[in-house]
């Protein structure tokens, strides 16, 4: 009985040197072991020395390099057997249906898969140290593949300093050279990275609950890997919620939101604000819909006492789909807060619901809506008013005032007082916040801002009076 002791479980060079010296020894008479395994076998040590290389087909060394990384204790003996077989039958490896070749192919496949999965599922965590960015990962490979796989990580992340810790062997790259150290434990690895929350957000959002295929996921990403994948802890909840989310999508769908609205609704009485909004999304009553991103409809509680009407959505509103979210909106928010009006209790909308602009290079420059556009969109403003029945309507700027009164209005003459409306509500007219933003003179801008806040404060006082009276 000959005993060969290799230096490491993936010691390919040691194996090659040993088999060269074993020519003529039947594979069954050799016992292979790895230094450190307490096999305690006694026998004749293999002859040491520089035996000449054996002739093998080209594919064999690469196959052996991978198969030797498998955890199967028989791997050395199987490779030795194949080597002996190859001396008699040089084309043995071409016979994939041969039981021994088949066995080696299966071992090879398992190692390749493990190599691939390690490339996929290593998760680095940033652990900055004195020298700057440093990354470390904990991974549990199925086979002895750390050395085999080191090149991949170095080729990819050579400009980073990183460590991959595993139970068998650890790889360290300092930006210049690779170093291998003995196996570590999970406690030696960092236990988190702030970016993992963002990664999990991505994982949850890219998942489509309408096409649940759990078996397919597990086939590719078996559960044994889950414990070291930060995103895997989301899986049970994503699966549990999928059916409900899909049913909700199917139940909520079906409103034909894209058909253009032809004429006034046939049903008597005002429509709900939500229904109006859904209809308005497909509005093509004037040509402004075409270049704009979307209809920006009003928003606010259905029982709001106050309705604020601006001119038209701007660049940011157009993208966001909500009124007054850009710079003018921020100014409005601040002024409302100073005046004592809670924006969340008001209904905020625009006289014109699509963004009118002129492209200038990369930017979209605001363009003033024309009368036909204001009149076309009045249909929506009137419908909003009818549905909401606000007690106070505030026109912000001349366009809103034009839309609400049907005539040209000089703001300076009409601001600061209630104008009684046929439906019993009050109309208040003031400046548009964009007007304040455009004033180049600081002093003038400050004075205008005070007037604007004063107008809104007067509105606030009326709101309080109405609320108490009601």
């Amino acid at each position: 009985m000959t005993v060969v002791t290799l230096a490491a479980p993936d010691d390919f060079d040691g194996f090659r040197a040993a088999v060269r010296g074993l020519v003529g020894t039947p594979p069954a008479a050799v016992t292979w072991q790895v230094a450190g395994d307490d096999a305690g076998l006694f026998g004749d040590a293999a002859p040491a020395g520089d035996a000449p290389p054996l002739r093998v087909p080209k594919a064999f060394p690469d196959l052996a390099r991978r198969v030797i990384c498998h955890r199967d204790p028989e791997r050395f003996a199987l490779l030795h057997q194949a080597l002996a077989g190859l001396q008699a039958r040089p084309k043995l490896l071409d016979d994939a249906a041969d039981p021994l070749v088949r066995r080696l192919d299966m071992l090879d496949k398992a190692v390749r898969r493990d190599v691939h999965k390690m490339r996929a599922y290593v998760r680095f965590r940033e652990v900055p140290d004195a020298e700057g960015e440093h990354y470390a990962a904990w991974f549990e490979p199925a086979h002895f593949i750390v050395r085999l796989n080191a090149g991949f990580f170095v080729r990819r992340f050579a400009s980073m300093r990183f460590s991959i810790l595993t139970p068998d062997l650890c790889l360290h790259w300092d930006g210049i050279g690779a170093e291998f150290t003995p196996g570590a434990s999970k406690a030696d690895a960092p236990d988190g990275d702030p970016l993992e929350a963002t990664w999990k957000t991505y994982y949850a959002s890219i998942f489509n609950p309408a096409r649940l295929k759990i078996a397919s996921m597990q086939g590719h990403m078996p559960k044994k890997y889950w414990k070291n994948l930060p995103e895997a802890e989301l899986i049970p909840d994503l699966i549990a919620g999928a059916g409900e989310r899909t049913r909700a999508m199917i139940a909520a769908g079906g409103a034909d939101t894209s058909a253009p609205v032809a004429e006034a609704p046939a049903v008597a009485g005002p429509k709900s604000l939500a229904a109006l909004k859904a209809e308005a999304l497909g509005c093509q009553r004037c040509p402004l819909w075409a270049p704009a991103t979307q209809t920006v409809f009003g928003e606010g509680p259905a029982d709001a006492l106050v309705m604020l009407v601006g001119e038209q959505p701007g660049d940011q509103e157009d993208l966001a789909g909500r009124p007054f979210v850009g710079p003018a909106g921020q100014l409005l928010d601040a002024a409302l807060a100073e005046a004592g009006i809670d924006r969340t209790r008001a209904y905020v909308t625009n006289a014109v619901k699509h963004f009118k602009f002129e492209p200038r290079g990369k930017r979209r420059i605001h363009a003033k809506p024309e009368l036909p556009e204001i009149d076309a969109c009045r249909w929506w403003l009137d419908a909003e008013r009818a549905a909401l029945k606000p007690r106070i309507v505030v026109a912000l700027g001349a366009t809103a005032a034009r839309a609400l009164t049907g005539r040209a209005v000089t703001i300076g003459r009409e601001r600061g007082r209630a104008i009684a409306q046929p439906d019993g509500s009050e109309l208040w007219i003031t400046a548009h916040p964009s007007f304040l933003l455009r004033l180049p003179d600081r002093a003038a801008a400050a004075a205008e801002r005070m007037r604007f806040v004063a107008d809104l404060a007067a509105v606030a006082a009326r709101v309080t009076a109405i609320a108490q009276g009601a």
């Binding site: 088949r102 050579a158 929350a197 957000t201 996921m217 999508m249 939101t257 966001a320 909500r322």
Partner: protein, 407 residues
Amino acid sequence: MAQLDTREKLAILADAAKYDASCASSGTAKRNSKDGKGLGSTEGMGICHSYAPDGRCISLLKILLTNSCIFDCHYCINRRSSNVRRARFTVEEVVRLTLAFYKRNYIEGLFLSSGIIASPDYTMEQLVRVARDLRQVHDFRGYIHLKTIPDADPALVEAAGLYADRLSINVELPTDAGLVALAPEKNALRIRGAMTGLKTAIDDNKDARKHYRSAPKFAPAGQSTQMIVGADAATDSAIVATSASLYDRFGLRRVYYSAFSPIPDASAVLPLKSPPLIREHRLYQADWLLRFYGFSVPEVQAATDDGALPLDIDPKTAWALKHRDSFPVDINTAPRERLLRVPGLGVKSVNALVRARRQRRLGLADLARVTRGIDKLRPFVVAADWRPDDRLDLRPKTARPVQGELF
């Protein structure tokens, strides 16, 4: 409205991107950063870094730059009239996110698409800026896939190809009639025109690189496209014919199918039901038959029943059942093309058989060792020790029972 932070935007813009099926990161030029500069590598075979419970791989950071869109395509979650929340990434945010994810080994790279805002040129310019910043400012050597806007200036597409590994333009629907019905603002002619432009640019670049090795690479992973299955009335026969002509005319690397899936705030024009996942799977199998198994379009169409691929059996089995006279095939003597027709024999198995039989005659046990299972194969093959009884009725054996629809 409060500013959305990057994570909130990511939630919206990844959600909006998930209806693009492609996540491939394979088949591009080999690159690495062994020189200690830059970041990343591509080595031919792509890597799937995770899998979602929908069974789809997560290889790339797949997001939209913005989900605002001036188009109103019925099947699309991002259409102008949809009620979804809108968000927009800055170029810098996408660059930062890509690099941070890549350094942690979450991804192979970036797949960036966008709703169309302002104008096609403006949108395309933003996409190109992301890719250019990644490549030039950060020396990123991972994978980049850019969705190309059909109406954008060809000069922008040219620039995109210099930074991206792959470019794609979606044909969206299998037939022009479907496009007219469901994406009225898109134009099939313009889409095909843009794909032709891409093919020309890719071919020209290949030619240039033959003469000048230093010529910069243009989209080395080629172009791909996607079409939605189950949103319009196109039959499987029509879909297979469309993809074959797409492969031929535009030299595509891949045609992806996306089973139409219910989306939040869907348009009433669409069939709202569970996505036809099995149909999608059968179409991919048919695609494989065309690309790797030597089937012609009429042959795949012959596997259908009135234009529809059977759902209970794969298309190759369906074809075999309709061509009983082509079987059994002798695994020891039949040419490779005939072996590829045997249901249950894949390309790898066929290659293994062809190599092994040069050395000796193969029996059933040999066949079992190079395939996944012998039961399905038995009726279709002859081996050294096996000849099937040709009176066998195959279908009940191969077909799996399907649960009936509840009524």
